[in-house]
């Protein structure tokens, strides 16, 4: 075997082992680690030579061997990346219901305080929800309401209008008269809670709990 010092080292075997180690390692491997593969019987120079040969061998492949700060590792070449991206087409993420509702309230009722939002939504509004929208540059603090505690007033930004292709807030879709919502079975798909108002039973009473889960996400 390779590790026995009495036997001559087989260069092909060394390269096979080096290559397998680098292909299977999660992290870059420093020379000190790579040496341990061979019980420290190979000198740094010899290892480096083999690594250079490996690098050379892979220059025509879809992945390449590079030496980074913490050691050697393989990574996918940039020009292959576009193919690999086809495997994992990134679906655009979606905002949670909490974020969307908060944004809707701020859009239609601005300027509003956090308390206003909580009042309308019936649940507390967590800081991350507002932070997400602030970080996106869609809402901003525009002042304080002159009530005890002087709560921050939020409003939407120009950037919000730009990103939604609106010239002004007037172009937001008009809201229907809430009174109409409960007649003629209109917009029923929007009403997860009210649809079985008159039915009593377990399924229905579970709804508030389900709502809770979504809110806290």
């Amino acid at each position: 075997m390779l590790s026995k010092s009495s036997e001559p080292i087989d260069p092909d075997q060394v390269k096979r082992v080096l290559e397998a180690a680098l292909l299977t390692s999660q992290d870059p491997l420093p020379l000190s680690e790579l040496k341990r593969l061979f019980d420290d019987e190979l000198s740094t120079d010899i290892l480096r030579k083999f690594l250079e040969e490996l690098r050379e061998k892979w220059t025509k492949g879809g992945i390449e061997l590079v030496c980074v700060a913490s050691g050697w590792r393989f990574h996918a070449k940039l020009e292959i990346q576009e193919f690999l991206n086809k495997l994992n087409p990134q679906k655009p993420p979606r905002y949670s219901r909490a974020v969307l509702e908060t944004l809707a309230i701020i859009s239609y009722r601005q300027p509003v305080t956090r308390g206003d939002i909580e009042e309308i939504r019936g649940v507390s509004v967590s800081s991350p929800v507002l932070k997400v929208l602030e970080a996106r540059g869609w809402i901003e603090a525009i002042g304080h309401r002159d009530t005890p505690g002087r709560p921050i007033l939020y409003a939407t930004t120009k950037s919000f209008l730009n990103d939604l292709n609106l010239r002004s807030l007037d172009e937001l879709p008009p809201l229907e008269d809430p009174g109409l919502l409960f007649e003629q079975g209109k917009n029923m798909e929007l009403l997860p809670i009210t649809e079985q108002v008159s039915v009593s039973g377990i399924s229905e009473t579970l709804h508030p709990l389900q709502g809770l889960k979504e809110e806290t996400s």
Partner: protein, 270 residues
């Protein structure tokens, strides 16, 4: 692991070939923890029985029940003598073995009355064989090379060159979100009026009132339809408070099963 000394004056316990079990010697030379470890080696009564059958070359398809029962009992006795906590399954098996043994002693005519009654050992044999089959399968399964344990998977880095995408929102999303809010507000209008009155004490009384005249109510019944989150929390707190004060008892017979709330008063009255 060190060898245990062979105590010369120890009487045979786990007996071989028909020799009856002698009385358990008082000074058994088994460190109780060693015995415990030995017994932990068995996965249960079936495993122990299979061990005995193999060790004593008993015929599995024609089990000498007297012999097997004696062997088995010997181990149970050792366990008991050493005051090891005995899993219920072991005792259950004792009962089963004795039952089979006694059924085999019944006169044949009685057996024939039940049509062609099968061998009382049949079910035990079936279970022993099935378990032995699975034990062997487990061994073979464990011999198959396993990812991570026996071989490493290849994992080459792809750098995340793609900029993290931000969620898209359009005006319809906004409108729908708003309509949902409005709808919810409507549905909750009735409750909103009483919002200021939400208190834990009040809901404790309400739960107790609900329980009056009932043996129990289901947990979910406590939460009416279209209830708001704040109210869920208050009702839950009220329930916890009632439990703490020993006024109700909460039971659930199986995980994810229905939770029942019982009034202690009712329990006492019955």
């Amino acid at each position: 692991m060190s060898q245990f000394p062979n105590s010369t004056d120890t009487n045979p316990i786990a007996n071989i070939h028909g020799e009856p079990l002698m009385e358990l010697p008082k000074g058994l030379f088994i460190p109780p923890n060693a015995l415990e470890v030995f017994l932990e080696n068995f996965q249960g009564p079936l495993d122990l029985l299979l061990y005995l059958i193999r060790k004593h070359n008993l015929e599995v398809l024609d089990i000498p029940m007297a012999e097997l029962t004696r062997q088995y009992m010997a181990y149970i006795e050792i366990m008991r003598a050493n005051q090891l906590e005995l899993a219920a399954e072991y005792l259950l098996m004792t009962a089963l073995l004795i039952e089979i043994k006694s059924r085999m002693l019944l006169p044949r005519s009685t057996v024939r009355e039940n049509e062609e009654e099968s061998d009382p050992r049949a079910e035990l044999v079936r279970r022993l064989l099935e378990y032995e089959q699975m034990k062997l399968a487990a061994l073979r399964l464990n011999e198959i090379p396993q990812a991570e344990r026996d071989f490493t998977l290849v994992q080459v880095l792809i750098e995340q060159t793609v900029v993290k995408q931000l969620p898209e929102v359009n005006v319809h999303d906004l409108r729908n979100a708003w309509l949902t809010l409005v709808a919810r507000a409507q549905a909750n209008r009735h409750h909103r009026v009483t919002r200021a009155e939400l208190s834990v004490r009040e809901h404790m009384s309400r739960i107790m009132r609900n329980l009056r005249g009932h043996e129990f109510i289901e947990f979910y019944e406590l939460f009416g339809p279209s209830i708001r989150v704040a109210e869920v929390v208050v009702i839950f707190l009220a329930l916890l408070e009632l439990v703490r004060e020993g006024l109700v008892e909460i039971t659930q017979s199986q995980s994810i099963g229905i939770i029942y709330v019982k009034s202690i008063d009712f329990l006492n009255a019955v």
